[in-house]
Structures are given as C-alpha cells and as structure tokens.
C-alpha cells in the first residue's frame, strides 16, 4: 500500500487515520518478513566472507612466514618460544598438550559416541548363589550428550586458540621486520592490568556464562531432538538416541489419532499458547494501569495517610507468594471463605464455581494477579509520577484541559516512554509466570479433550506449567518439554523483537530528555 503524504494524512478523519495505520501495519508485514530474511542472508554472507578472509590470511601467513612460523602450525607456541616470548609460548604449548591429552583420554570417546549416544544399555545377570540379580551399567547417553557437547566447545576453543597462535606469529614477524622488540612475558602480564584490563575483567564472567548458561541451553535444545524420557533415561534402563525432527512433528501435528486421543497435539498447543498470550496481555496491562491509577490516587493532594496506604499495599509483597497464593486459592474454593460468606449473607444459594468452570477460573486468576501486581506497579510508578514536571500540568490546566486529557496527553506518554522496557519484560515474565498459575489452580480445571496429551493440560495451564507437568508427569517426556521450551523462546523472542522496535523509548530516544 502506498504511503500517503503527511498533509493527506492529516486531512483524514480519526477513524480513517486508525484504519490507515492498521492497513499500513498489515501491508507492511510481508516487507518486514522479507527484510528479516534478507538481513539473515546478509549476515550469512558476511560470516562466509569473514571465514574466507581468515582462511586466506592463514594461507598467506604460511606462505610468507619463516620456518618458525611454519612449525607453529603444528606445534603451537613454537614461534613465540623461538622468538623469546616464553610465557606466551608455554601457554600455547600447554593448551595444545592439554587438548591432545584430553582428546586421547576421553574427548575422543565422547565425540565418537555422540552420533549414536551409546550402543550398550545395562545388562542384568542372575547370581544363583546369592539369589540376586546384579546389574552392570555400560554406556550413559546423558553423559555422552553432555560431554560430547563440552568436547565440541573445547574443540572450537582449540581452533580459536590455534588461530590466535597463527596470528601472533604473523604479528611478531611484522613487528620484528620494523626492528622493534617483542613484548616480554613480564610486559604481557603487566598489560593484563593495564591496556588489556578488559580481558582480565571479562574472563571470569564469560567462562561462567559459557558453562552455566550457554552449555545447558545448548544441551537442552539438543534434547528436543532425542527420545529422552522416563523409559529412556540413558543409563539405568534404556539408552536414548537421536530422532531428528520427530518430536516437533508430534507437537505440531494435527493428527487426532496420533497419540493424543480426541484432540491433536497442535490444537492443544494452540489453545495453551492462545491462553498464555491472553493471560500475559491482561496480567501485564491490568496491573500496569490499575497500579498507576492507585499510585496517582495516593499521590493526589489532600489524600491523608499516604504512607499508611502504601504500607498496606506493600504488605502483599512482604508475604511470600507461596503462602499467600495457596491461601487465596483455598479462599476461593467451593467451600472456601468467600463462598461461605456470600452464602451466609444469603446473596447466593449455591457456591460460585471460581475454580470449576474454565472461564471463571481464567478470570479469577487474572483478578487475583491484579491484587498481587498492583503494589509493585504502585511502587515503580510513584517515583516516576512525581518526576513529571508540575508545570506541564499547570499549563495544561490553564489551557482548560480536564483530568482525562491531562492523563492522556501528559501522564500516559511520559509513563509509556519511561516504563516501556519494563512493560516488555513484564509481558514476557507473565508469559512464563509459573508461580501464580501453579499455586492458584495448578492448571485446573482439566481440559477433557486434551487429557490424553502428555501431562494432561488444563484450561488455565500456561506453556510453562504444561512443560512442568510434562517433565514430572506419568511418562517424564523430557524431549517434548524441550520442544515446548524452544517454541516458547521463539514466541517470546518474536514478540519482544516487534514490540522493542515500536517502543517510543527506543524509537525516539531523544525525547523527554
């Protein structure tokens, strides 16, 4: 759709403007997708070029280098040692020795087993004399996968170090050619707290992130491509193995009979995803606006006991959710205190089905979540609200703006600008809000159509609680949980990217400064 000029746009009526914007948004989608893939293609091309450059540089290094450099291709650090950079040389050499030693002693085994994830499961043997059955354990698929991945990481690290080693030789040759001396070991060490200080600082966090975040994520993603579950735990009963994209096919299949009974996995997944999005939307925005409203109400001139009101609200934060939510869940039960009170007062004849009917349960969790969320938002927004220049309001009042107009034109834009990133994180946080759902309903009421899907999903289950049910359920289908985990990531990433790019705080960074 063609873009119209600003003048034409301003001439449109309000409804037409909105319509135009919506049409622009949707007609823009194909272009956005195309540009996304184009960007990915460019990135791949760029990466390819970079690799090509590296290889050609390695080639020239070898061709133009002296014998010391050439030997360094095989014996890492030789060049440095031969040129007197003992510390660097020893470190390179040590790394190579450790790497080769590791590969021979265990890395080679892990790597060779990685394609099969093990060949021999445990064996049982009856010992007639003692009248017992002894079990002998053999391959361990879980360890093979874990250490296999670790070995690949190690190999990548080795290739990188080898490349650094080559580059060092080239640089050393160039420096020597200019007649300058090379850095000594002492100078190297000194530089670590001086011009190379960033490397010293980053070494520990980087290693930590690699081992405790990247490696587990990589491992968990790989699990999605195996049949790792309760009956294939990889060591004490059956080994597990690679199954390709089978698990994705299972979860995204519309086939009703394929193991899901009366409803296909894809339909179940779609339902849960839809509810997850609805929940995240309401949980985020009800809290946001109501929290802001409460903060504004308390901030209002003439309201007394401001601190008292805030303390009362903050009390809900002080009590651990684990306790308060379980208690609230009981309060809303069929024979809970709320129904009991309403019946005693004679307002209702029979108990209200807070947790029994799907929509009742969904609305109830959203309402209870408001009760939990408002205090947080109140605290956050109180500070920001006080920060809005009072003269803005004053001039607005002089111009005759009413309270609603002031809110629409001053408060809200300011708030959205400052709390935009917070809104995004809270939206994604709510998509994975395990606590509230699990403690309040545990996913109930159960969805009869989906009861035979792994983990018996219920009407208030989010993807994250469903995932929990799958792993701890009857069959411990870790692989399916992993697939859901990946899909949750994709959904969250997509939403975050889109929202992030239209946020005022990102688009107009210069405003409100």
């Amino acid at each position: 759709m063609a873009q119209i000029s600003d003048l034409e746009f301003l001439r449109l009526s309000k409804a037409q403007k909105t319509g135009y914007k919506i049409r622009r948004f949707f007609t823009g989608i194909p272009k956005a997708i195309a540009s996304f893939f184009l960007a990915v293609w460019h990135a791949i091309q760029k990466a390819g070029k970079a690799v090509g450059r590296e290889i050609s540089e390695i080639g020239t290094t070898f061709k133009e280098g002296d014998w010391k450099t050439k030997l360094s291709f095989l014996v890492m650090g030789f060049g440095s040692l031969a040129r007197g950079q003992i510390l660097r040389g020893i470190l390179f050499l040590l790394f190579e020795i450790i790497f080769i030693g590791y590969m021979i002693l265990s890395g080679g085994y892990w790597l060779s087993m990685l394609p099969s994830l093990g060949t021999q499961g445990p064996t049982k043997e009856y010992n007639a004399l003692l009248d017992v059955t002894v079990t002998q354990y053999h391959d361990n698929s879980f360890q093979i996968l874990l250490y296999g991945v670790l070995t690949i990481f190690f190999i990548v690290a080795f290739i990188y170090t080898w490349r650094v080693n080559i580059r060092q030789n080239r640089m050393a040759e160039k420096i020597l050619a200019t007649g300058k001396p090379l850095k000594s070991g002492k100078e190297d060490l000194h530089s670590l707290v001086d011009d190379q200080f960033h490397k010293t600082l980053m070494a520990l966090p980087l290693t930590g992130i690699l081992i405790f975040t990247v490696l587990p994520i990589f491992f968990m993603i790989l699990v999605a491509f195996t049949n790792y579950d309760g009956t294939h735990n990889g060591y004490t009963n059956n080994l597990f193995t690679w199954v390709g994209l089978d698990n994705f096919n299972t979860l995204l299949s519309w086939d009703v009979t394929g193991g899901a009974g009366t409803q296909s996995y894809a339909a179940t997944f779609g339902e849960v995803l839809l509810w997850t999005l609805i929940w995240a939307f309401f949980a985020t925005f009800t809290n946001y606006f109501l929290g802001m409203f409460v903060a504004m109400a308390i901030n209002k001139k003439g309201i007394r006991f401001k601190k008292g009101w805030r303390t009362i609200l903050v009390l809900t934060i002080a009590i651990p959710q684990f306790i308060s939510l379980l208690y609230v869940s009981k309060m809303f039960a069929k024979n809970g205190i709320i129904n009991g009170f309403l019946m005693d007062m004679g307002w209702i004849k029979t108990a209200l089905p807070f947790w029994e009917k799907p929509n009742w349960a969904r609305i109830t969790v959203i309402l209870i979540n408001i009760w939990i969320g408002i205090p947080y938002l109140m605290l956050i927004t109180t500070g920001i609200l006080m920060n809005i220049p009072a003269d803005l309001y004053e001039s607005a009042r002089i111009d005759g703006a009413n309270a609603w107009q002031q809110y629409r034109k001053i408060t809200l834009p300011y708030m959205l600008f400052v709390t935009g990133p917070y809104l995004l994180t809270s939206f994604t946080g709510n998509m994975n809000n395990f606590n509230v759902i699990f403690l309040l309903t545990g996913g109930a009421p159960t969805n009869p159509a989906a009861s035979s899907a792994a983990g018996a999903v219920g009407y208030t289950d989010l993807l994250i609680t469903w995932l929990f049910k799958i792993t701890t359920g009857a069959e411990s289908q870790y692989y399916l949980a992993s697939v859901i985990g990946i899909l949750v990531f994709v959904v969250v990433a997509l939403i975050s990217l889109i929202v992030y790019n239209v946020m005022p705080s990102i688009k107009n960074e210069e405003d409100f400064r």
């Binding site: 003692l130 039960a333 024979n335 359920g473």
Partner: protein, 495 residues
C-alpha cells in the same frame, strides 16, 4: 586330557567360588541410604539397629535414613537413579514407572517366595510385573472409605448415596468425594457396577495391553450414579480430611486422614464403608481401589551388598516390623499374620477398610496416563446434559484409551451388537460370547420390533462389521443375536 583338566579346573573354580560366596561371606559393614516416610524415620532406625544385632549372617548396616515421602520417592528416583536411596518406600501406583526406569532390583527366588507366602494377595499382585517380583509389600491400607459428621448425617442414612446427598443439601454442608480431579476416587462408581480396567505388563514394567470395560452398559449405569453426586451443588471434589473444618459433612478418604478428622470432629466422627447408589431400581454398592505401599531395593553392581540389602528388605517387611509399624504408626499391615491379629481388626480406620474390602478391587499395575485420561470423566459427567452426554463422556474416554494403548485381545477381536436395540440408538455396544461351536452369541436377549436394525462389529470399531447392509428384524420378538465368524452370517435365535 585337556578336557579332563578343563573339567577339573572348572570344578575347582565352582567349589572355590561357592566357598567365597557362601552365606557367611555376606558378613561385613555396608554403608547404605534408606528413604522412608518422615513419620517412620525413627522407627526404621530402631529396626535397622535390631537387624544389625539379631541377624546371624554377620551383616552390619551403617545406615543413613532420610525422610522422603512415598509420593515423591518415585519422581526423585526416576530423576536420578544413581543418587537414590538403596532401599526406598513408595506408593504402588509408581511401581511400573520405577520398574521401567530400572530403579528396582528384581527379587531372587527365595525372596519372591517369601513375599508371596506371607502377604495379602492384592499387595503381592501390586509388586509383580510380568512374572517378576520387584518389591516387598509394606502396608495394605491405601484404600478409601467414608468419614462423616454424626451431628449432620443420621446413622440410618449412611448406606444410601441418594440420602446422603439429600442430607448434605438440606444442611447446606458439603459431600467431599474427589470426582473431578482424581481417577483413583472416580473409579469407585465403575467398580460398583462391575466394570474393570486391567492392565498387563511385561517383565520390564512395560504395558502390553489393557482390558477396559468402562465404556459399556454397566459403565453407563456407573456414570448415571456419578451424575447424582457431581451435579449436586453441595458436592466438593476433594479428598482432604481437613475439609471438615470448612463446612464438609462427608469426606471420602483413607486411614492417613484419621487423626486429622478425629481432631476436628472428635466424638462426632463416624467411619464406615462407602454407600450404595440406585439406578433403575437396582442398588450398587460403591467400590474402591485397594492399594498398598511397597519397599524396593535399588539395583546394585556389588552382588554381596545387593544380597545383604535384600536381607534387610525382607526383615523390614516381615511380620515383626509390620507389627511394630502398626503399633507405632497405625499403618495397616500387608502381612497375613499381622492382618489377622485382633488389634488390627479393632482399629476403627482399618475396620472401615475391612468393611469396604468385599467391594474393593486390588490396584494392580495401571498406566500412568490412565489417571489423567480417566479423571476427566467426572467433569464430562458434570457437564453432560442428558443420557447421550453421559454416553459421550464414556466414548471420549474410550477413544483416548484406544488411541494410546493396545487393547487386550478379547476387546480387539471380540464382537459386539450395535444398533437400535434395547432403546439405544447405535451408541452402545452389547457384548457377545464365543460358543464352543465358534459361533458368537449375544450375552443378553433383546426385545425387538419388526424393522429393528442392527449390526455386529469387531473391536468396537467399524473396520469389520456384518452384515454389509443393516440386519433388519422381520418379526417382533425377543431374540439372541448369533454371529458366525467363519461365514460372516448374522442370525437371530429365540434361545
């Protein structure tokens, strides 16, 4: 000569290994970990000390006893078998999962014979997969019965579900029976009408097939009974004894809630077996699952340690220890001798279980997913608007079972009559039995009018059905349906 030498050598080896591995050689100190329920930790420590002092094999256990509830033990075990306790207690519904996970060491012949000889048949069945015994029965009290508030429920009403519901509604008090979130309780109604769900497992704990008759005319009677309860405004889907403190007059739960209920109701506590419900003028006494707790030994690499552990497991589930456990913790014994003792017979909670026991069904191996699939019947029944809706609940259940599991041969290959017979509209299968002459005959005679149509189908599906065109009754009368599998011929017979 070489052969002779080899023979001698082999013999020498066998003899020497016999000497090494004789029972005495079990003597030694073993470091072990035990997982038992928190309540039983102190008692178990005492019992191990007794074992160390009294056993004649010279076995000494240096045991660490950790509190892990029977409900969590299986999940923790399966998550990491290597880190699990060497001996652990668990609820029987986790048995198949544990066998599948390779977390249970099979019992030797001696131990298996000991288990079979000394324990309640139902609990023995719970410890067997295929033909292999994998665990030691520990208790036999995992069943449910009815607690009620005597100040609300008159004593003479406790045998009738309808009267109990009416009493609760009149008093505005709740009838707690976990119908909407637990298949364990919900199955009660099906057992009342004689439905079964029996599973066959192999030696490795894998499920081979299921024989399930919940979707049957009897099943329909069961859900009609269930409908009365779940559609009552004062039905509460819960099985917690503490509901008595929040407006419940009846709670269906087990012996574990005895102290809780006693604490709340005091002298007003009534304990009895489950009531009966009435459908079409016939009474059906509610059934129940009759379950147990088991004690398992984790597989070991060291044969001697494993043998010693089995000795301890045998001791801990033997008569003496079960007696002690009953006295200290009121755990219902699975040991036949202890079961027969007067003290056990007189315990009110266990007495109610015993009163319920003629109607209870031993809970053998049941697939983990069955609990999830069956539990929604309660919700489906509650939402059903008419009889077709009730039948739909059963059909849904059946579809899921049939798509996930292999049906047993008699369901898969059995023939049934379906059609406009006995007031049904092609929505109900009537069972047939194969006679000695190879001809299938319906179990019941049907009153049929002229023009009534029906078919005979196999495995409750339409893949195989006869005759090709609907069978039409020519003359009104009461007939049995006959079906000759060899010729595919359907006929009617007056007798």
């Amino acid at each position: 000569m070489k052969k002779v030498l080899a023979l001698i050598l082999t013999l020498a080896l066998v003899v020497s290994s016999c000497v090494v591995a004789s029972a005495e050689s079990l003597a030694g100190t073993y470091d072990i970990t035990l997982w038992v329920a928190e309540k039983a930790v102190d008692l178990t420590k005492q019992q191990i000390a007794d074992f160390n002092a009294s056993n004649e094999l010279g076995i000494v256990f240096n045991a660490t006893v950790e509190p892990v509830s029977e409900a969590d033990a299986a999940t923790q075990m399966i998550t990491d078998v290597e880190a699990g306790g060497d001996i652990f207690c668990f609820a029987q519904d986790q048995f198949a999962r544990l066998v599948q996970a390779g977390a249970l060491a099979p019992l030797g012949e001696g131990a298996a014979a000991f288990v079979k000889e000394n324990n309640d048949a139902g609990t023995v069945a719970a410890a067997i997969s295929g033909d292999t015994v994998y665990a030691y029965p520990l208790t036999a009290d995992n069943g449910y019965f009815m607690y009620y508030d005597k100040s609300v429920i008159p004593e003479e009403d406790v045998d009738s579900l309808e009267k109990l519901i009416a009493d609760c509604e009149a008093a505005q008090k709740y009838f707690a029976f976990e119908m909407q979130s637990s298949a364990w309780y919900l199955a009660s109604f099906f057992f009342a009408t004689g439905c079964v769900s029996e599973w066959e497992t192999d030696d490795d704990g894998n499920f081979i097939s299921v024989h399930d008759t919940f979707n049957s005319p009897e099943g329909l009677i069961a859900v009609k009974g269930m409908e009365k309860l779940v559609k009552s405004d004062f039905h509460l889907s819960s099985s917690s004894g503490s509901e008595f403190s929040s407006n419940a007059a009846i709670v269906v739960t087990g012996t574990w809630d005895y102290e809780t209920v006693k604490g709340i109701l005091g002298d007003n506590m009534g304990v009895t077996d489950l009531p009966s419900f009435e459908v079409d003028g016939k009474e059906y006494h509610l059934g129940s699952f009759n379950g147990c707790k088991l004690l398992g030994v984790k597989p070991q690499v060291d044969a001697y340690k494993l043998a010693a552990l089995h000795q301890l497991a045998r001791y801990l589930t033997g008569e003496k220890c079960q007696q002690e456990r009953f006295e200290a913790l009121s755990w219902g014994p699975s040991n036949l001798t202890v079961q027969a003792s007067d003290a056990v017979q007189a315990n009110p909670g266990l007495a109610a279980l015993i009163a319920q026991s003629p109607y209870s069904v031993p809970q053998c191996q049941i697939h983990g997913s069955w609990w999830d699939i069956a539990k929604v019947i309660g919700d489906d029944v509650k939402n059903a608007e008419d009889e077709a809706g009730l039948q739909q609940a059963l059909d849904n259940y059946y579809d899921k079972i049939a798509s996930l599991f292999t049906l047993s041969d008699d369901v898969k290959f059995g023939w049934t009559v379906i059609g406009a017979v006995n007031g049904t509209m092609w929505d109900n299968d009537f069972a047939m039995t194969k006679g000695d002459d190879g001809v299938w005959k319906s179990n019941d005679a049907f009153e049929m009018e002229a023009g009534t149509e029906f078919k005979v189908r196999q495995g409750l599906s339409w893949d195989n059905n006869f005759p090709a065109e609907n069978f039409k009754v020519e003359e009104a009368g009461t007939y049995y349906v006959l079906f000759n599998e060899a010729t595919g011929e359907v006929s009617l017979s007056a007798e």
